[in-house]
Amino acid sequence: MSLIAMPEPDNGAVRRRAEIIEDIAALVGRAALITDDDGRRAFETDALTAYRSVPLLVVLPRTTDEVSKILRYCNDASVKVIPRGAGTSLCGGALPTEDAIVLCVSKMNRILEVDYANRFARVESGITNLAISNRVAEKGFFYAPDPSSQIACTLAGNLAMNSGGAHCLKYGVTTNNVLGLKMVLIDGTVIDIGGAHLETPGYDMMSYAIGSEGQLGVITEATVRILRAAEGARPMLLGFESPETAGACVSAIIAAGIIPVAIEYMDKPAIAVCEAFARAGYPLDVEALLIVEVEGSEAEINALLKKIAEIARKFNPKTMEISADSDHSARIWAGRKSAFGAIGRISDYYCMDGTIPLGKLSHVLTRISEICAARDLKVANIFHAGDGNLHPLILYDANKPGETAKAEAAGAEILKLCVEVGGCLTGEHGVGIEKRDLMSVQFSQTDLAVQMRLKSVYDPGWLLNPAKVYPLDASEPMRDGVRIYASEAA
């Protein structure tokens, strides 16, 4: 069913498989390798499960030095490398190819240093996102980016995708919360970027590395910012008769100088599914529901929620419910937090991840309904209203012939719409293979060339996660070794 094409595999590498296994085993020991069919099959896909391919082998190094040896070997032997954390990518970012090895950092998961006075933690990249926060919670600290897969996803994956989360309106995304990186380049060189201090000297290589989707190198360690948590947090629930009024209310809250820690938006279909699943007490007679959360001391929270309620009243909400205590807060969040699971229970779904300017919300939601209705598909929308990140969930039946293709086509049209209104293809999930062929909707050939030349600086042979992010026709000359950068530098 595969709609997204991948390049012809390098048969040379496939034929040399036994030799490659021996060579890598000699470098890092056989125990670090997974070579049997069942074992490799566990790595054949990520969270974009429609696409699968069994890699040559999987290697699980335990040290930066081992990563360096493996990459140097792959560079010398021209073997492609798919870096991987926990494999929770929704865009096929960790999808293997049959001519590549998977280099999985999940065994490198130690916390190396925690410094509360200077507010940083130095960790290995295979640690899970939540494990960092759990480790520093005893002193009331946390690591801010909180993607919804945070129990499972690794920091390595967060760094590769520049992950966000529900609280990034206030705390920013991954790139805003990292101080230093240790990264291994394809030729085995280990580089340190930044450190425990705030600013990186010279060119901002941190910015190139974070969000590079495994294209530039393998990050093995990171120094992340840890923050002292607020004294408390409490949400309120607001229901409106139309997306316009809900959007206008969000604008008015921000215009009043209030930056809530989260503003989550759900449309009617999403409300219905979540309420049926979680019994959160959501109103079923509204078109749009907002969960607005603020932080601070009890007195501050009360004062802020009161201010927000005053603002919201001007927009005639059909529902307004202020959380009274932690149980109440948990109930309000229960519906939203279970959204993906709840929808997954009733249908297969395809989760999109565009970003739009808030002012275009109503227009975009109308168009999304039309796009899906035209294909006889249902859609539910979840929206991080504070930062414009929209997650339409397109419902379809994977067992019905042609339905998957229909859902993908609707998804592509929705993402084009996001770009058309001034937004972008992906807010936090990344490009991977999923949005690869849409990149030319958002970027000109020159824009893409500027990015791909950087890739060639770090990885001249295009061995790291090739065939992702950039449309194949655009990347082909570089993947084939016509290296614009190298030829001009010579």
């Binding site: 000297p201 060119y203 000109s444 990015q451 001009e488």
Partner: protein, 407 residues
């Protein structure tokens, strides 16, 4: 005779760069000239100024976003934001006056090209953290864009942010899009007196580790504190340690009390409130406590906050120093006596062994020609730096030698 090129449009800039390339010439890239005395000294015969590319092209206060052409002056942007009770989140620092340029000439392009942020950076991030998108022309005369106008965007490599701090050596920014925030409704500053540097930094890092959202954490040793224009504070005649709280008025009051309790062992602070607090931080941001002088050299040191007093003490063994600690110690503006070597070896050694890096901000042109202005690079970083430069500007047309002699 220096030739000034003043493109008013992107296509014009492209054709100028293409022409320079065809003639094997290079150019210095400036806005209105605020930063011409910063960085390594270079003397190309051609200067490209973005001064004619100005104006705010998009401002959506409700979406907290603004776009402006690169030559728009920072003061004009801040005035427009203030009219809607908004501001830039990172308090950009205009180093112009401290390096001998007129005040208020810094362009928004210069703000992002140098990535220099003020006190609020310790709490909410720096210029790079709030840049959303750019349009720019590289040394190949190509116009390209990266990022966009929305807050969350992980589409492709983050080239926009990667251009921050590149000092015009990779591309000429033509338009920048950035995040803005509401101005706080109230501001208040706790002022602790008489703390020696090490205790002051201890108090500041403790404050940053409380939940009270301190948005400014500065320590001024005695001689530097005496330079404040705020006479009430300057006349105290003691070191001053400053912590800023901002929010709704009731929050500021509540947090002030809680913070004071948490820091009881450091003494009883006085409080600077309302407009006086606002003005105090404007003054700190202007670097007027580190005024322009041909007799002194100014370094900017980025380090781990708790290491800052040690670094200053180590350098003090070799020369007279005056320090202004910002970011709870994470940033040191360090004034040392003018010298042909700028005290470089001692400064860099003191920083290197404790972690961090130093940039020479103010020194005579001949000093900035012979002393490395930016932190010298390790070979593997230099190799990548050279590669990145080549990817954007293979012929070395844009600001050659501005950051590093051979790049």
């Amino acid at each position: 005779m220096t030739e000034f090129l003043r493109p008013a449009a992107e296509w014009e800039l492209q054709s100028m760069i293409a022409k320079l390339a065809s003639e094997n010439r290079c150019a210095e890239i400036v806005g209105h000239g605020a930063l011409r005395n910063a960085g390594r000294s270079t003397a190309p015969e051609t200067v490209i100024t973005t001064a004619s590319m100005r104006g705010i092209s998009l401002y959506e206060p409700n979406e907290l976003v603004m776009s402006a052409r690169a030559g728009t002056r920072l003061v004009d942007i801040e005035a427009e934001l203030a009219s809607r009770r908004q501001m830039l989140p990172f308090e950009p620092v205009d180093i112009g006056p401290t390096i001998g340029a007129p005040a208020s000439t810094l362009s928004i392009g210069g703000v992002f090209a140098t990535n220099m942020s003020g006190a609020r950076r310790i709490a909410t991030g720096g210029a790079r953290d709030h840049l959303l998108g750019v349009r720019a022309v590289n040394g190949r005369a190509e116009l390209f864009k990266s990022g966009g106008r929305v807050m969350k965007n992980v589409t492709g490599l983050d080239v926009a942010r990667g251009l921050t701090g590149s000092w015009g050596t990779l591309a000429v920014l033509t338009e920048v899009t950035f995040k803005v925030v509401p101005m706080p409704h109230a501001s208040g500053t706790l002022v602790y007196r008489g703390l020696p540097d090490d205790l002051a930094i201890e108090a500041l890092t403790l404050a940053m580790g409380t939940p009270y959202e301190v948005t400014g954490a500065v320590h001024l040793p005695k001689r530097v504190a005496a330079r404040l224009k705020n006479k009430n504070l300057a006349d105290i005649g003691e070191p001053l340690t400053l912590m800023r709280l901002e929010n709704f008025p009731e929050s500021v009051a509540e947090r002030r009390n809680k913070l004071q309790t948490a820091l009881k062992v450091y003494g009883e602070p006085s409080v600077v409130a309302a407009e006086e607090s606002w003005n105090l931080w404007s003054e700190l941001r202007s670097l007027s406590v580190m005024p322009f002088s041909p007799d002194t050299i100014l370094w900017r040191i980025s380090t781990v906050p708790t290491k800052a007093p040690e670094i200053v003490a180590a350098i003090q063994k070799f020369m007279r120093v005056d320090a202004f600690y910002d970011w709870s110690g994470g940033l040191i503006w360090l004034e040392v006596p003018a010298a042909a070597d700028a005290g470089s070896a001692d400064v860099r050694r003191a920083v290197a062994v404790r972690g961090g890096h130093a940039t020479l901000i103010r020194a005579a042109p001949d000093v900035r020609e012979t002393v490395e202005v930016f932190e010298p690079m390790k070979p593997e970083i230099e190799r990548l730096t050279r590669g990145i430069k080549t990817a954007f500007d293979p012929a070395g047309i844009l600001n050659p030698g501005r950051m590093y002699a051979t790049i």
